[in-house]
């Protein structure tokens, strides 16, 4: 019993929880900034720049503005971090089994991705700044715009997994019984990304990444040049450090969700420490590939859209793509 509790605590705080996510997430952001700089023909910051920023912000003075909701203002930075760390518990990183798994886990993941955005909203609305208020209202509009396609993508993946398992004649076929492990198991012979009916859903999920992670062209929430970092404006010192850490961890988390939903599985079948480490590195590499194509390349080459253009985009292209995929999967084509 004690061993189980210790193991879960290790999962929560070290691997694949807080520490692991923090290091990988910050390196993701650092590599992102370096590649963007090279694409724009700059030298760019070193790839450990986010670590320097984090250490710097931890020693800076912490200012609480007058008129801020003090309780919420100090709690808000933790919401995103807690949300994504719990979400990561459901994801098998280079292992056969995720630390936590339950029936309907994909619905919990959906909820936790939104919870991470709620953290930013709470932070902004607690800080009593008009810029933050504008940022929060934009974040809400964006979340409402892309959440619909996100829900349809999640449903598509679960229904597809249920269909495959039903054909194979094993396991639960009821949708709500679907856990992340069974979604991974359904892709044992063929990952969903190789299935042409799932490609539209995959593209829709990739299109959601820039808005979800606050990257150009849909970084309307944090738009530095118009609403000066939006919800982050009043934060300083360690709370700003935690907010930035949270968004870096979220980048790794969301990319991991895509990896698990569309191309999970390790590179080696070898068990033991070496095999596990190889599989973990393989998972990180796949997550980084997702971040590179959907985040880095897109944000290096496109300028910021307005909020109405962003909402229009999310209510048309990703929504239509995800509905196409859902229709194809429901019709059992392919």
């Amino acid at each position: 019993m004690l061993m189980q509790v210790l193991e879960k605590l290790f999962n929560l705080f070290v691997f694949p929880g807080f520490l692991f996510m923090a290091i990988i997430g910050l390196y993701f952001v650092g590599i992102h900034r370096k590649i963007v700089a090279r694409i724009q023909r700059r030298i760019g910051p070193p790839i450990d720049q986010p670590f320097k920023d984090f250490a710097k912000l931890m020693i800076k003075e912490d200012v609480t503005p007058e008129g801020a909701a003090k309780g919420l203002f100090s709690v808000a930075p933790y919401i995103t971090i807690i949300g994504v760390v719990i979400g990561m518990m459901f994801i098998p990183v280079g292992m056969a089994q995720a630390p936590l798994d339950t029936a309907g886990a994909f619905l919990i993941l959906l909820y936790l991705i939104t919870a991470a955005a709620v953290g930013v909203m709470v932070a902004g609305s607690a800080s009593s700044s008009p810029y933050a208020a504008v940022g929060v209202s934009r974040e809400m509009a964006l979340v409402i715009a892309y959440d619909l396609s996100l829900i349809i993508v999640f449903l598509t993946v679960a229904i597809k997994a249920a269909t495959i398992e039903a054909v194979a004649g094993n396991g639960a076929t009821d949708l709500l019984n679907y856990s992340i492990n069974s979604i991974v198991a359904a892709q044992a012979t063929r990952p969903f990304i190789l299935d042409w009916t799932m490609i539209p859903a995959f593209l829709a999920f990739l299109m959601i990444i820039p808005a979800n992670l606050g990257l150009p062209p849909f970084d309307v929430v944090e738009a530095e040049t118009e609403i000066v970092e939006g919800p982050m404006i009043e934060f300083s010192g360690s709370r700003l450090a935690l907010l930035q850490l949270g968004s870096a961890m979220k980048a790794f988390f969301v990319c991991s969700v895509i990896v698990v939903f569309f191309f999970p599985g390790g590179i080696t079948a070898a068990s033991g420490v070496l095999g596990t480490i190889t599989n973990i590195i393989w998972h990180i590499f796949k997550a980084w590939l997702v971040y590179f194509f959907a985040g880095t390349l897109v944000s290096a080459s496109l300028g910021r859209r307005r909020i109405d253009q962003a909402v229009n985009f999310y209510l048309t292209v990703p929504l239509v793509l995800s509905i196409i995929s859902l229709g194809l999967v429901l019709a059992k084509i392919g």
């Binding site: 070193p46 720049q49 920023d53 250490a55 020693i59 800076k60 010192g237």
Partner: protein, 152 residues
């Protein structure tokens, strides 16, 4: 324990100076040299870890241009007090040093060092981008010392 870590830690932290620009009545000549030449991708200050921040609450290095006109004095004091410690102050141009061509005007109150603790002054009307970059490098050296003091 901390004594051993102090040096690498302060070196690491010194690699992340975020810059906030404050215009206290400048004629925009220095702002053009500063924001659109010295901080542009051509000279790429982000290789030192410099990031332009829009909010004074994120700032480490405050860059002040202009001779401090009477009208913006209150606002300048208010913004300056919002910048969290430790911080480094740099002025760009001749106006913050002496008032330059506006000397003895009733509408200005130079020098800036009378109001805020200035660490680095870059002279010139306007100063060249290389001078401003040199100022940044000097600021980062001072910033490293401030950080080490903070860690004590």
């Amino acid at each position: 324990m901390l004594g051993v870590l102090k040096k690498p830690l302060s070196k690491m932290i010194a690699g992340s100076p975020w810059v906030y620009r404050m215009n206290t009545g400048s004629c925009n000549g220095c702002d053009v040299e500063l924001a659109t030449v010295a901080l542009c991708p051509r000279y790429d200050t982000s290789r030192f870890g410099v990031k332009l921040s829009g909010s004074p609450k994120h700032a480490d290095i405050v860059v002040i241009t202009g001779p401090m006109t009477i009208r913006c004095k209150d606002a300048a004091y208010r913004i300056f007090s919002q910048i969290p410690e430790p911080k480094v102050v740099m002025t760009v141009g001749n106006c913050p040093i002496s008032g330059n061509v506006f000397q003895d005007s009733y509408a200005i109150d130079p020098p800036i060092s009378k109001h805020f603790p200035v660490d680095v002054s870059v002279a010139g009307c306007p100063p060249s981008p290389w001078a401003i970059l040199d100022g940044f490098v000097k600021c980062i050296e001072i910033w490293e010392k401030r950080v080490a003091e903070q860690l004590d």
